[in-house]
């Protein structure tokens, strides 16, 4: 079925009873190779079409999400939706769907058809990364490589055309082990398969795992820290989440009531930029048909904007930012503006401190205050006078996000594009030098 025609047809049906409406269709073909213990565990493939319908009437809003089989019962589904809409309540804060602009940004070539047609290439990528990690000192290697081809179709009652977009992305996640706790990790995201460097990732993961075998004992406490891009990406993810206007309203944001304030180190600038050639989701329009754009969330330490859809923009009396999901706005692709220091120069700044390679399993004790902790893995190295003394085991990263943002004192130029299992948003970031990070230790170690 032509999905553009289906999009148009579904919108026409919605507009038979609604004041406003929108139809969003995603068609996704994905392949994945997962591996562990130096061998491939499974190859997977998905072919899916998801259909989302939104309808407004008298300031009431109803949303339906259907997989493709739902189309065959669409008359029945829409009749039920119409009745539900009638019995519902108006939203306390309502804004109409926005009028679309005359044009949308062009993001260039975004599709590598080999990701769609050649899953065998992904198996090759997996094998190369395994071999390289083993050569570099690992005994066991695990990971996954996944490629996605995505088509999007969007029609809203404010526009007179069906918008469409397509892109591919591929990402590789490699984790190498020497022994139980001695691990290294490397990940990479690209838009085409040639953008992946499985040899480098395997080598980095293997070398880090090997380096982790030489351990030193260090007490918990506060230490200056160089967060390498993997770890920095995990922290920057928290900034992206907290910038969503929806999370601010819900009380799940440490940026609540901070708009316009200095919230971070004056050298820190964080953008949300779907137009980056490294963005996993290089969309030219958001789910309300507004053009996407580069938004600067933090500019030289100052919180400059929340990210909005039509409802949160209304609450905050703000302009739309091109980040709409129908229920909540979200960032697309975060990028930290690089500094001018090499990673070695950042490490040289440590009299006694840590190189932190990964923070996972981050949980907040209090989202508004920003108190959280995260599990450290894949290499925490103790440094004295700029020299690595050994790996440290058993510590936990326990701190507060507003404090961390203010305690950044240096930004590297070693930019990497990070996306892996533990983070939701892809992030382009260099290493960050952060003063006085908190580390705790479990009883019984």
């Amino acid at each position: 079925m032509d999905l553009s025609i289906l999009t148009e047809d579904l919108l026409r049906r919605i507009m038979g009873f609604a004041d406003d409406g929108a139809v969003l269709i995603h068609r996704v073909v994905s392949h994945q190779i997962r591996f562990s213990g130096n061998k491939i565990d499974i190859g997977k493939t998905w072919r899916e079409t998801s259909i989302s319908l939104m309808m407004d009437k008298d300031k009431k809003v109803n949303i339906l999400n259907l997989s493709y089989p739902g189309v065959k019962n669409i008359d029945e589904v829409l009749e039920a939706a119409k009745k539900t809409l009638e019995k519902s309540q108006p939203r306390p804060i309502y804004a109409e769907l926005p009028d679309p602009p005359p044009s949308y940004p062009s993001i260039g070539d975004k599709v590598d058809k080999r990701i769609l047609d050649r899953p065998d290439l992904l198996a090759d990528v997996a094998k190369v990364s395994i071999d390289e990690a083993l050569v570099s000192g690992a005994r066991r290697v695990s990971g996954a490589v996944r490629g996605n081809y995505v088509e999007i179709y969007l029609a809203t009652s404010k526009a007179n055309t069906v918008l469409s977009d397509s892109y591919t992305n591929v990402y590789l996640d490699v984790r190498a082990f020497v022994d139980g706790e001695d691990s290294g990790h490397a990940s990479q995201l690209a838009r085409n398969i040639d953008g992946l460097d499985p040899e480098r990732l395997g080598r980095e993961a293997g070398e880090t795992a090997k380096l982790s075998t030489k351990t030193v004992s260090v007490d918990p406490g506060r230490y200056d820290t160089v967060a390498t891009p993997n770890a920095a990406a995990a922290l920057v993810n928290l900034v992206g989440n907290s910038a969503s206007g929806f999370y601010v309203l819900m009380g799940r944001s440490f940026f609540r009531d901070r708009l316009g304030d200095d919230v971070a180190y004056e050298g820190l600038t964080i953008n949300d930029n779907p137009h980056s050639p490294l963005s996993r989701i290089p969309r030219s329009f958001d789910d309300e048909a507004m053009p996407t754009r580069k938004n600067t969330i933090i500019k030289e330490g100052r919180l400059t904007t929340y990210l909005h859809n039509r409802f949160t923009a209304k609450v905050f009396d703000a302009d739309l930012t091109g980040n709409a999901g129908w229920i909540m706005p979200s960032a697309w692709h975060l990028e930290v503006s690089p500094g001018d220091m090499s990673r070695d120069e950042l490490v040289e700044e440590l009299d006694h401190g840590f190189i932190l390679n990964n923070v996972t399993y981050i949980r907040f004790q209090n989202h508004i205050k920003g108190d959280f902790s995260g599990v450290i893995r894949d290499g925490l190295f103790y440094v004295e006078n700029g020299e690595i003394k050994g790996a440290v085991k058993g510590l936990r990263f326990s701190d507060n996000m507003p404090r961390i943002l203010n305690n950044i004192v240096g930004i590297g130029k070693d930019v990497e594009n990070i996306f892996h299992w533990w983070i939701r948003l892809d992030v382009t970031t260099p290493s960050l030098l952060i003063k006085d990070c908190g580390y705790t230790k479990a009883f019984g170690l």
Binding site: Q32, I33, R34, S36, G37, K39, I40, I42, G43, K44, T45, W46, R47, E48, K60, L64, L66, S67, Y68, P69, G70, V77, A80, T84, K87, S88, Q89, P90, P92, P119, D120, R140, S142, G143, A144, D173, V174, F177, G180, E181, L249, M250, G251, R252, W326, R363, N366, I368, K369, D371, S373, G374, V375, R396, S398, W421, T440, A442, F443, G444
Partner: protein, 474 residues
């Protein structure tokens, strides 16, 4: 109604292409969601996720493919894709533990069908909860209240090449709330809820209005009166919510045999447990941890897993001794054992992997008063805010949200976020008593790549952990 003949077309095709093992699963998940924020209807919607998955083993390698186009040609193409994805790997060593063939069906009957309850009544119920919470606001403010009602009806039809056919229908209802309290410069963010495999009758069973009212009321006391905890050694009583989390994270996950064997190494992680630890004593005889998918009306309920294996309660720790791991057919075959039916898939487009269902400490013989009465200096950690655990499940951390000091056998004032950070072996070795009060709560357990969130119960009785180090937050 699922088109069941498509399952057999997929199986036949996969076998004709050389698969040594094949399974095909049709699954439909129909989900209704209503979100109320600060008393106003934020969003509501219906989601239908329906399709077919084919999983095969070809020359010892595993392939998995899915489609949501439920037509004959597409299903045959999907079987072909699964076989191709297995073949690109080359020869592997995967075998599936044997299971006798049978054809069964089961369903959980909704006494009050969720679909028959009007939209007005559902929204009104959430409004009642919101009103009840709001009424507790005085000098303690409750500025943000987000309530979510979600109902999912899961229908499955599974067939395997070794002759298993399983049909099932399970409804699941859950009410969750995210509540923000503030008092001066203090704030608390609380996420809690009730749920299970039931229809609208769950509302009568769980009394969610009371649940949210009591939770919020207790926290208004905590936010006003909590005092910082003095760092030092304490005996800790974990309430059912926190004990349940400890059972899930510190026993359930590390006892998943795929993690022990390294299959989740780059994602959720591996395990500190080793196969050789079967039979080891790791705790007192008071401690038995069970994972039981067959608990009636539980959130993690099923009677047959997604590989068609008949479910049973699994005693992971039996009176202090490591008794069995959670296994699917693939991992059980490596040990030469039978699967204990732990294979679950979160949706039609996810592979079945080793998962928990309802994991809990079995009830003991003590009363709550008996747990407390000989505690000289302790903490009753009733609920938690933050938690995490390392990817080998060796190093746990819980921060109390509702927690009280215990002195000379008596509950005293609330404490401000006591931090309890301990290794899993030390935790189990320090439990000396378990009470009779078994309680459960719903949760979503995350694992795998792509992510799979499956419904589970976590819970248990109150448990006593002797002499552990507690500190204030950093």
């Amino acid at each position: 109604m699922l088109s069941e003949d498509l399952v057999f077309k997929a199986l036949d095709k996969a076998l004709s292409l050389g698969a040594g093992y094949a399974e095909a699963r049709l699954q439909s998940d129909k989900e209704y969601t209503i979100i109320l924020r600060n008393g106003g209807l934020e969003a509501y919607g219906l989601g239908v996720n329906e399709g077919l998955a084919v999983r095969v083993v070809v020359d010892g390698s595993m392939g998995f493919a899915t489609t949501d186009v439920l037509e004959s040609n597409e299903v045959l193409e999907t079987a072909d894709q699964a076989v191709k994805l297995a073949r690109v790997q080359g020869e592997g060593g995967i075998e599936m533990a044997e299971v006798p063939s049978y054809s069964v069906s089961y369903s959980v009957i909704q006494k009050k069908k969720f679909e028959d309850i009007s939209m007005e009544e559902k929204v009104a119920y959430l409004e009642d909860i919101d009103r009840e919470i709001r009424s507790l606001s005085n000098d303690v403010k409750i500025p943000s209240r987000t309530l979510i009602m979600s109902f999912r009806l899961t229908e499955k039809y599974l067939a395997t090449s070794d002759g298993i056919i399983v049909r099932s229908i399970v409804p699941r209802l859950i009410l969750m709330g995210y509540i923000v309290l503030s008092y001066g410069d203090r704030s608390i963010t609380r996420f809690t809820g009730v749920g299970g495999s039931m229809g609208w009758e769950g509302i009568d069973t769980w009394d969610p209005i009371k649940w949210f009212r009591d939770n919020t009321r207790d926290l208004t006391n905590v936010i006003k009166n909590a005092k910082p905890v003095e760092p030092g050694y304490y005996d800790i009583i974990l309430g059912p919510e926190t004990a349940g989390l400890a059972a899930h994270e510190g026993c359930g996950h590390p006892f998943e045999l795929d993690r022990i064997m390294g299959r989740e190494g780059a994602q959720a992680g591996e395990s500190f447990m080793k196969i050789e630890m079967l039979g080891d004593k790791i705790s007192s005889e008071e401690v038995t941890v069970i994972d039981d998918p067959t608990l009636p009306n539980s959130y993690g309920f099923y009677l047959y897993d997604d590989e068609g294996v008949k479910a049973r309660p699994r005693k992971l720790i039996d009176r202090g001794v490591v008794n069995e791991f959670l296994m699917n057919r693939e991992t059980a075959a490596i040990l030469g054992l039978e699967s204990n039916a732990a294979a679950r898939a979160a949706a039609y487009n996810r592979e079945p992997i080793v998962r928990m269902a309802n994991t809990y400490f079995a009830a003991g013989s003590y009363s709550f008063e008996e747990l407390i009465e000989d505690v000289e200096r302790g903490i009753y950690l009733k609920s938690f805010g933050e938690w995490n655990i390392d990817d080998r499940r060796f190093n746990m951390r819980f921060i109390g949200q509702e927690a009280y000091l215990i002195e000379k056998g008596e509950l005293k004032h609330p404490l401000l976020n006591p931090v309890f950070e301990i290794t899993t072996p030390k935790f189990y070795a320090s439990i000396d008593a378990v009470d009779k009060n078994l309680e459960f709560g719903p949760a979503t357990c995350g694992k795998s790549d792509p992510h799979q969130g499956v419904p589970v119960y976590v819970g248990g009785p109150n448990i006593r952990v002797r002499k552990v180090y507690v500190s204030p937050p950093v």
